[in-house]
């Protein structure tokens, strides 16, 4: 059984999707979706915790390089575990607001959601370049659908925008893969990395990499290619935005790491192509511009969305260092941010369900009325800032050490300075919640109390993010192993 875990992770959600449509039962569809995600998560966690080296799973028993190979290394298992868990949290215990978003379209919604999960998981576990594209498209198409299901009409515009840019990105990726195939004659990751050495000097290889990098850059929302993100995150149904915030960009980041490390090789990408010099300034701009924009956003979800753009900057910065320590920091931050941002989006969803819209002003003085939700937001926000005692600090610390080891203390200073912007936008919300009188002319709250479904998942995630901030050995050590195996394998 356990050797089939890699394919199970993908297969369960993938097969559950049509099941949901066939059953056509609102409640059952939710239960099925939940179960599917949970199963997938179980598989991912089991794999992640029991593996001792990279797992290769030949699909249909065909040898790799001939058949399609699923290949899960430590980092992949780590990302898969995060993605599936967050999917479970986002869908299973989704808030009432989440459910209301999609009244009447539940089957399609859950089916699309499952497809999306399957696509993302597939991207993580596949060891084959073309399958990356296939799963990318599966996840992307379902995401467009999900975003379009948003309550407001602007959701359609956002979805269209996302569709356009996502397709552009997908196309670039496809072109990149095509060129890579042309040069190496294979799509298998291991084989590509072995053969790419011979063609490294050729212009076509460079172009292949450029297309892949830019294509993934769009999907990853690297500044200035992030334009789809705020709309998509803020207009999608709550469950979707929570899920996307924690997973979509993370998986793409993982893909970028694989392209750099597994396919093309660190030495080639950084020494020959100088990719680091290209990525670093963009990361820095993203860190500052994203956070600055977040400060001025009038709506809670847009604030969080722009904050994500800033956080992506940290991720790419870590990658741009081109060192194992950098990779380690990037992977850690991937996890930390996934947990934190999902929690924050879930809390935002709960708040919005209570007050009816997502303008920040509407939250005035709600800190007393919803103490737990507000406390959760504060703690999540602290993790976002990187205050010690939260998981955000652990990853930021790793990033700092990586940067310092690279001999660039000024970069460390810039990282910290941009954290200050996070302080500003987080405490903007805190101030509204706690230190403002409730709006005089506010319409009555939708409900007096937040239902447990809205805060329990968020609360759990917040607890995780705080707990891992103090007991950080587990993630730190695991990620260190992952980074080492990835990086060591690349040398």
């Amino acid at each position: 059984m356990s050797e089939h875990l890699p394919i199970l992770m993908v297969l369960v959600p993938l097969l559950s999707a049509p099941l949901v449509v066939f059953i056509k039962h609102r409640k059952a569809s939710r239960v099925i979706a939940t179960l599917a995600c949970a199963l997938s998560a179980c598989a991912a966690w089991t794999l992640a915790l029991q593996m001792s080296s990279a797992v290769s799973y030949p699909l249909g028993g065909w040898r790799p390089a001939i058949g399609i190979e699923l290949r899960v290394d430590f980092a992949g298992a780590y990302v898969a575990a995060i993605v599936s868990t967050i999917a479970t949290f986002a869908i299973s215990l989704g808030t009432r607001g989440t459910r209301e978003d999609v009244v009447g379209r539940e089957m399609f919604f859950y089916a699309a959601f499952l497809m999306c999960v399957a696509g993302l998981m597939g991207m993580v576990v596949t060891g084959d370049a073309f399958n990356v594209f296939v799963f990318l498209e599966i996840s992307s198409l379902s995401t467009y659908t999900l975003v379009a299901m948003g309550k407001e009409r602007r959701a359609l515009t956002a979805a269209l925008n996302y569709l356009f840019l996502g397709t552009l990105g997908g196309t670039f990726v496809l072109i990149g893969i095509g060129l890579m195939y042309q040069m190496t004659g294979t799509l298998n990751a291991a084989a590509v990395s072995a053969r790419i050495r011979e063609v490294e000097h050729l212009r076509t290889t460079h172009v292949a990499f450029a297309f892949l990098a830019v294509g993934l850059g769009i999907k990853l929302a690297v500044f200035p290619l992030h334009q789809w993100l705020p709309g998509a995150y803020s207009q999608a149904p709550h469950a979707v935005s929570s899920f996307l915030a924690g997973t979509a960009t993370k998986v793409m980041y993982f893909q970028l790491i694989r392209v750099v490390v597994s396919f093309f090789g660190v030495a080639y990408v950084f020494d020959t192509l100088h990719f680091g010099d290209f990525l670093l300034p963009l990361s820095l701009v993203a860190m500052f511009a994203g956070s600055l924009s977040a400060i001025f956003q009038p709506s809670l979800r847009r604030l969080l969305a722009y904050s994500s753009i800033g956080q992506v900057g940290y991720l790419t910065l870590a990658l741009s260092l081109g060192t194992e320590a950098g990779l380690n920091a990037g992977l850690l931050h991937l996890g930390a941010h996934a947990v934190t941002k999902t929690a924050l989006f879930l809390i935002a969803a709960a708040f919005i369900a209570q007050v009816g819209d997502d303008r920040l002003d509407r939250l005035s003085g709600l800190g007393k009325r919803y103490p737990l939700l507000s406390l959760g937001f504060v703690l999540g926000g602290l993790s976002l800032i990187g205050v010690p005692g939260t998981v955000g600090f652990v990853s930021k610390w790793a990033l700092l050490e990586a940067v310092l080891a690279g001999g660039r203390p000024w970069l460390a200073f810039l990282i910290l300075a941009s954290s200050m912007l996070a302080v500003v936008y987080v405490f903007r919300v805190v101030e509204v919640l706690y230190f403002r009188a409730p709006l005089a002319n506010a319409p009555p709250l939708a409900r007096e109390r937040a239902d447990w479904g809205s805060w329990v998942p968020a609360g759990l995630l917040v607890l995780v993010s705080v707990g891992l901030g103090v007991w950080s050995e587990l993630p730190s050590e695991y990620v260190a192993t992952a980074a080492q195996s990835l990086f060591g394998g690349a040398r």
Partner: protein, 710 residues
């Protein structure tokens, strides 16, 4: 007994002072009077040579040191404390009693302090407690409040300033000598001593540092002035005598002190301020004595301080009584009071004669010691100055004070005689003045060098005669000048002294500086706020939706454009990497090569397949540069040879080991195969060596990969 000597002398007064507010009315006054007596009894418990020590932060402190020098000051301070308390019997408010007792106690404590740190503590305590005596006047006279307050602040700053100088000096002294012992110090030996000297100098009212005396003392309450005049400056004299006896520079300083204030004393209208100047002048004698430093001189200084406290107290008491009864102490408003206050007048005259050193009174028997000491040291100029000053004292304290207060032109004051307790206090002081004047030997026995004192005879005919001449002719001069109308009239005015510098230019400087600072601050704040506002506005413009372009999604077209741009940039970067020639490219390729070589080296010999695969990779590396190509060629050759060897080996293996049945042709094949394999192996070795050599050269030329270590 033993427990009591654990306390320092004066402690009873300080501790007792805390309970003064608990008593009411006469009981309080009686209690206050009893404390100095108790404390005096306490002092009597200490034998000469007693030393009490304590430790603090690892330093050994000498809390109590009783010797002849400290004892005489301790004794007179107790007498003064008692007289002051008696004089202040009428004061209802506990504040002044408490302040007096703490002040006196601290002064006594300081006198017996054996180390600099303890001295500092008491030194500051005298400053702190005494300021309340000045402030107290504000309570009685609301209209003077603001003025008194400012005076007291100036006083406090200067007094504490002396304290911090002492502290600084102590620190530096300790730095230099690793000792806190308060003994004879040498000005040249450490900068600390200089600081300490200055600290003492402030309290002893050295010229130019003197002004606080004239500023503060006349502003204190009726009894307060008496108290103030008794302790602080004499404590400083004691400290100088202890620390700087025989320091030459004190002689001119002291001479200056005797002469310089008398000019102001002549002009001054406020009679208590006249006495303050006169105080300064008297201190000058003592300072000169300390400067001369012979046994006689030190004796003289100590004795003069002793006598001085009494007669200066007496004079101030009489002036206080006048102030108490009339409400003014300005010479221009007083006169003719001898009719209504005859006893006060008498006491005042005794005091005046004492200070003028009239034979038979205390001033004569003490001052003459100093003058004699100066004479014995043959300091002609100083001697002359002291004579001149004696004539001056005769004027402002001996004649001017009693004359303008009690005689002169009758201003029509109809007031009562001073209260009884004041009279009693004055009477006691006057009696002591006379007593000392008549029986100097009692005082002489207390002096630091009693043997030297015993040999000194004040009442020597020449001395008495010359002193009388001096005084009477001075008086004659006064009469003459008054008769001629030349004597300067008493005018309601003030005279500028050194305090001008800190009360006008310095104050102006401070005010201007603050104004300038606040102007600069305002400007910079304005600019900073403007900048901040502009920065914020610009951030808002760029980031705040819906107008801010960065805070609002762009069109898909824009993003596409960016994507294209990025692609272009990335290609530009990579193409420069891929197609660039020259050293850089070669270095890159070298690294690439070395990298791969490293990969081979990592694979064990037995893993032939893997090794082959990597060598194959190496063979196909795209390389530029001759040496690189040479390595690659060697590699390729080696690859070929390896393959050849492999093939031959396989052949040998397939034939198997030869035996008797083996056909001849087979054997020949085997032999050929062996030969070929050997040749191939040899080629492998040759090319491998070439490869290794080339690699080594490359390694040396191109630094190892920067990520190699991770």
């Amino acid at each position: 007994m033993n427990a009591l000597t654990q306390l320092f002398p004066g402690a009873l007064m300080i501790l007792g002072a805390c309970f003064v507010p608990l008593f009411r009315g006469r009981a309080r006054s009686a209690y206050v009077l009893a404390l100095p007596l108790l404390s005096a009894a306490h002092l009597a418990l200490f034998s000469l040579g007693h030393q009490g020590s304590a430790t603090l932060f690892g330093y050994t402190l000498e809390l109590v040191r009783v010797d002849a020098l400290s004892r005489i000051f301790g004794v007179i301070f107790h007498i003064a404390a008692f007289l002051c308390c008696l004089y202040a019997f009428h004061v209802k408010r506990p504040l002044e009693h408490v302040a007096t007792l703490v002040y006196a106690g601290a002064a006594i404590g300081a006198t017996f302090a054996g180390d600099l740190l303890t001295l500092f503590v008491f030194w500051e305590l005298t400053a702190l407690s005494s300021v309340f005596l000045i402030l107290a006047r504000g309570l009685d006279e609301p209209e003077r409040r603001e003025r008194v307050f400012r005076v007291s602040m100036r006083y406090l700053v200067i007094q504490v300033g002396s304290g911090v100088l002492l502290l600084a000096g102590t620190l530096l002294y300790y730095q230099g000598t690793r000792s806190l012992h308060f003994g004879r110090m040498n000005l040249e030996e450490s900068p600390g001593a200089l600081f300490i000297f200055l600290a003492f100098g402030i309290k002893a009212a050295f010229p130019l540092l003197h002004n606080w005396v004239q500023d503060a003392y006349p502003e204190a309450s009726v009894s307060g002035t008496v108290v103030l005049a008794s302790f602080t400056t004499k404590l400083a004299i004691y400290a100088l005598a202890r620390g700087f006896a025989g320091t030459d520079v004190l002689i001119p300083i002291g001479a200056c002190m005797t002469a310089f204030p008398i000019f102001f004393a002549v002009l001054e209208n406020d009679l208590r301020r006249v006495l303050a100047y006169s105080l300064n002048n008297q201190l000058g004698y003592m300072v000169v004595g300390i400067g001369v430093g012979t046994e006689l001189a030190i004796n003289g200084a100590a004795a003069h301080a002793f006598a001085h406290i009494l007669y200066k107290g007496l004079l101030l008491m009489s002036m206080g009584a006048v102030l108490y009864r009339t409400g003014t102490i300005k010479a221009s408003e007083l006169g003719g009071l001898h009719k209504s206050m005859p006893l006060t007048t008498a006491f005042c005259i005794i005091g005046a004669l004492s200070i003028s050193a009239f034979p038979g009174l205390s001033g004569f028997v003490t001052k003459s010691m100093i003058v004699s000491a100066v004479g014995e040291a043959h300091l002609l100029v100083i001697f002359g100055v002291l004579l001149f000053a004696s004539a001056g004292v005769c004027d402002h304290s001996g004649i001017k004070i009693p004359f303008f207060t009690f005689f002169a032109h009758d201003q029509g004051w109809k007031v009562q005689e001073a209260p009884k307790h004041m009279l009693l206090a004055m009477g006691l002081a006057a009696a002591l003045c006379i007593g000392i004047g008549v029986f100097p030997s009692a005082l002489y026995a207390l002096l630091p060098f009693p043997e030297a004192a015993a040999q000194y005879h004040a009442y020597e005919t020449t001395h008495v005669l010359t002193m009388l001449q001096l005084l009477f002719f001075a008086g004659l001069a006064f009469i003459t000048l008054v008769r001629l109308g030349v004597y300067p009239p008493e005018l309601p005015a003030i005279n500028l002294d050194t305090d001008y510098f800190y009360r006008r230019p310095l104050k102006r400087f401070v005010v201007e500086s603050y104004a300038l600072a606040s102007w600069v601050r305002e400007r910079t704040w304005g600019m900073a706020l403007g900048l901040r506002g502009r920065a914020l506005a610009s951030l808002r413009r760029n980031h705040e939706p819906p107008r801010g372009r960065l805070g609002e999604p762009w069109t898909a077209g824009a993003t596409t454009l960016f994507a294209a741009l990025m692609l272009f940039t990335l290609l530009l970067l990579t193409s420069s990497a891929g197609c660039g020639g020259g050293e850089d490219a070669e270095a890159n390729d070298a690294r690439l090569l070395l990298d791969r070589v490293g990969a081979i080296e990592g694979v064990p010999e037995q893993a032939f397949e893997a090794r082959m695969e990597r060598v194959e990779v190496l063979r196909r590396l795209p390389l530029r540069g001759e040496s690189l190509i040479a390595v690659r060629e060697a590699c390729a050759e080696m690859h070929g040879a390896l393959l050849e060897a492999d093939v031959q080996n396989a052949l040998i293996h397939s034939i198997g080991a030869p035996d008797e049945d083996t056909p001849a042709e087979e054997l020949a094949r085997l032999e050929r195969a062996f030969t070929a394999a050997e040749a191939a192996a040899a080629r492998v070795v040759v090319h491998r060596d070439a490869c290794v050599d080339g690699t080594a050269t490359l390694r040396a030329r191109y630094a190892p990969d920067r990520r190699g270590s991770e």
